[in-house]
């Protein structure tokens, strides 16, 4: 099966969950659809949603929660 990546739209800090006291948007093995929110990027104290451009199944998270990311950096691997 073909693997694709969800890329960070902006540089900043990556979050896997909508708020510290809430569960992650997605876990390995979860299905994703096009346009679905899969994470947040904090950039200059604003929070920007990361939306998937692909549909499929999550096979790996390539960045740890709360770690810095660059614009265009792959953050989630999808099989679809």
């Amino acid at each position: 099966m073909a693997q694709t990546h969800i890329l960070s739209p902006l540089p900043g800090t990556y979050y896997r969950q909508p708020a510290p006291d809430q569960p992650p948007y997605k876990n390995v093995g979860d299905p994703v659809t096009v346009g679905e929110v899969v994470g947040l990027i904090e950039v200059m104290k604003s929070f920007i949603e990361v939306k998937s451009e692909h549909g499929g199944k999550i096979v790996a998270f390539l960045i740890e929660n709360e770690e810095p990311v660059m614009a265009g950096q792959p953050i989630i691997a999808i099989e679809g």
């Binding site: 902006l10 900043g12 800090t13 904090e42 950039v43 200059m44 104290k45 709360e66």
Partner: protein, 454 residues
Amino acid sequence: MKIKTLFIANRGEIAVRIIRAAQELGIRTVQAYSAADKDSLAVRLADEAIDIGPAQAAKSYLNIPAVVAAATRSGADAVHPGYGFLAENADFADAVEKAGLIFVGPTGQAIRLMGDKVSARNAALAAGVPVVPGSEGRVDDLLTARDVVARLGFPVMIKAAAGGGGRGIRIVGDMEVFERLMPQARAEALAAFGDGGLFIEKLIERARHIEVQVLGDGHDVIHCFERDCSLQRRRQKVWEEAPSVALPARVREALCASAIALAKAVRYRGAGTLEYLYDDATQAFYFIEMNTRIQVEHPVTEMITGLDLVRLMIQIAGGERLSLRQDEIRVRGHSIQVRINAEDPANNFAPFPGKVETLMTPGGNGVRFDTMLFAGYQIPPFYDSLLGKLIVWDDTRDRALARLTRALRELEIGGCKTTKPLHLALAEDPEVRAATYDTRWLERRLDQNALRLT
């Protein structure tokens, strides 16, 4: 002067500002930096620099043990917290003093007292300073609530006692709606916070944000007059002026006297700011809170008084008594500061952490640009969007506005979207020119799409 080496526990333009003030006093400077700020202007300008951790603020600039350990290791005898980050963290002030270093600011105890809204309000009341009229403490039944609103008059705000950050606030215009909303607010507060206690406060409509700069040495307190910071977006100041053109002389005198009374009551040490709401229609002012640190907009006060507030706060921390008398502080001319942020005003102020390809900074008489930018600088995405502050001074407000437009046109930050177009539009807006704004004016103007933002 007890301070030989100053550790700067901050970043960006304020770190640059502090380094400059310290170096002019013959003090050695040590700049703290995160992984994202290794190549910053502050690191370049400081005599020394120390790595305090990863890019994320929580792991570096907000990490108390890491900052205190670095300050101690650097051989510094004092720590300047700047603004934001740990500047108003009482535990940090205590930790610095416990490590045997001087905290450039008030005592942890004063930060705690003025940082808590309820204790600050009580301290203000005790010092005879007017606060926003409201219920005396919690209101738990409708009968008491009716008495309170009869005294205050409408409109009022109903706030959940256990709420915060704007949650659980209702604005009510008449008794009929009030009778309906009170029980509803109570039930909701109980469900949301586990506490049905409510506060009732008078709503001050069309208020200005006016604040008074004070300096204390733990014994005496002087004021350096007021700033008008009413132009705000999402409760963030974007444009600040000194003095305020809204205040009649007698009101200015009473306002500044009230600030002195409150700062003296808490034996304030260092630079501080008392924030008020001001109602043009009634000429009444109401204390809202005190900021126990240097503020972003301090340069406008420096421009109209000729003082160097950052130098003075370092001297006070170094054990010097205030040598200025109140009658030596005089206002001359008018000053305006605009915040140049890495945000795209044409795209709903979206953050723009770009690279500064080229840089042309404004100059000339009465123009000051406090910034951490240089050509080739990559703006990190991890911190706030402030890139610099353009400050102008002239002998009248009209002249200062003309100078601001001229200086803004000279400023070119190549490759980056900034708030420069917003300020060019504001400088020419008839209502800004007439200074008839209140704290909600800018958001109303932006909602009407009445400003040219490209």
